[in-house]
Amino acid sequence: MQYISIHNNQSIALKDIPEHLYPAFMKTNIELLNDNPARHCVNYFGYRDADGIRLICCIADDDLHQIMVSSAVISSGTDLASLTAQNHHFEKFEREIHENFGILYSDHPWLKPVRYAHNRTDKKEKIENYPFYQAESEELHEVGVGPIHAGVIEPGHFRFICNGEQIMHLEIQLGYQHRGIEQLFLQKKKLPERTTLAENIAGDTTVGHTTAFVNLWESLCGYEPDQFLKFSRTLALELERIAIHTGDLSAICADIAYQLGNAVYGRLRTPIINFMQEWGGNRLSKGLIRAGKINYPFSDDLAARLNAVLDAYEPDFTEMSEKLFKLPSALSRMEKTGVVSYEQVCGIGTVGMAARMSGLNRDIRLSHPHDLYGSFIVHSPVIKHHGDVYSRAQIRREEILQSIGYVRKLTAELPEFKKPENFTFLPGKELFVLSLVEGWRGEICHCAVTDQKGDLIVYKIKDPSHHNWMALAQAVRNNEISDFPICNKSFNLSYCGHDL
């Protein structure tokens, strides 16, 4: 057997993952991906065990609704051929393995540090000495932006190589946000601590990441969540999507200097996040999603309130969107700006909106359903084809309306709330589990491995931004540097989700 096929949130015995010699492992995973856009790498990581460094690679097949997992053992300090040389899905994963374990890939085209993690092998490497790509030319100049940006956002460095106003190349250097989250998951043993960590992976995706964590944890501990918990998570995910997409449309308007759109979408976000505060006491849903329980059960009163909020939201949203998406001065800034082609997104392995903008049908809600997706909600992804700012804005507009439909359907009849019995969450021994969630930004993947005592020995997080930052770097090529902000905003990627 070359690999083991599992479905989303399925725990399997670690020993059931087929182990190969590295060349066979490479061949298996490259062949799985060959010319099949329905497949992509959702996670690839290494960890130290008694045998050396164990690599685990997870390839998802969106048509078969399966994830194919295989492994290999290598020793540290070895030179290996890279998977990236044959398929770019592995680019950042292998850089991470290189940074954390000192593996030297002989033919990796871009073997640079990823985030200057505190547990990196080479402590002499410092973030201020990042080796930027340089072009020796009298014609070209460089523009450096960050780590601190003009606005109130997270830090990261962008290095442009420009010919006049035109961007030839953009290199995105991250790592400033590195807080050592994956290590803290192992260091902190209590469930409330780990849940709080999950909530802080990326603050704008609190529901997405916490849902990935609790689904994973419940699977690892053999707990089956009831309908009410699944309902709560699905509802919160859709509300988070509505809120952030609305805020993103506001930000896109700000970057094309369209004041009306900026103000209207900006204020329309408020009733949604204020509703999250009415439901769970926090505008960003912190404290809401918990393993095996919910501290703030959704009620019929809240359902009525929410529907009233949406009744007021919808006409104003529709009116504003009809205006924006017909406005020539707005369209001229959004259309054909920041284009990423279908071939490019397939090559990078982008996820979420950054895949659907270019005609790649990739949405976990359809392909690897969790919670109430695939049963109560049969999702059909919003797909666009131009891969430009306009496509990304259109996806948001349509997904908001789609999510409102889902929320109305979910809240039409609430599942019965039962106070959960006291369940002791003890993870099984020597297990591997993988959890996929479609957050508003795209696919979130959490993986965990336990040892013979049931202790966590690996907690691996992949935010959708992991792949999608590369799509942004490609999008801005040949655009004017003045269009960088709108390109950036139309992706709205996470720095902390990447840096961990």
Binding site: I148, V152, Q177, T196
Partner: protein
Amino acid sequence: MLDNIKILWHQGKQFIPDVTNAKAPGIFRGRPVITKEKADETALVEICPTHAIAGNPVRIDLGKCTFCGECAIQFPNKISFTTDYKLSTNERERLVIAEGDENPILVNPARVRKEIYRLFGHSFKLRQVSAGGDGSCEWELNAANNVQFDMSRFGIDFVASPRHADGIVITGPITANMAQALEICYQAVPDPKIIILAGTDAISGGIFADSPALDRSFLSKYQIDLYIPGNPVHPLTFINGVLSLVRKQK
């Protein structure tokens, strides 16, 4: 043109007229109150993910609290969260709420540097530095200047350059990788200057407090002028906090 006016008209009045007395909607978790009732203190201390609760007598440190509300769910007779969003102070020790303490949290005017009211009372420009912040506090600081909260009405703004700023607002637990950038940014702000810590992560490190990836040495070098708790900081908490620092309270 007419469409634009129609859209504007349909928005109605959005701004909050009085942000110093507005009510936070729903079950907002603000300043906690601890009763003197007997409770299993060991269990209570144990459930807090960030060690914000101490026993004998019970107290909560809002500089460490993530406001998840777990303690109030498990010990409803002992701890409850009020909707009071005025949580800011210039004294770190005031963030520790003791049993029976129901007093508002205030800025101690005696410890505000004397030039602050005169220089910054009517115009206060801030440079924000996210140093490992998860994006949520940054989000709420942006919201503080949207059409509803409209912080600019008080002359308080975020500016792009530290050269134009009167102080910095730090969010996040301060990662080692951001320590140098933070220091450079602070040095670029002209004197006299202010340091504000916004959010639990900035004040104590929050859930990341014992992470080896942090470098919080900046905080021991300089005086902190204002602590604004929250996870994330609510826009009302932020605006009222800053106002209570730069304007003399009547």
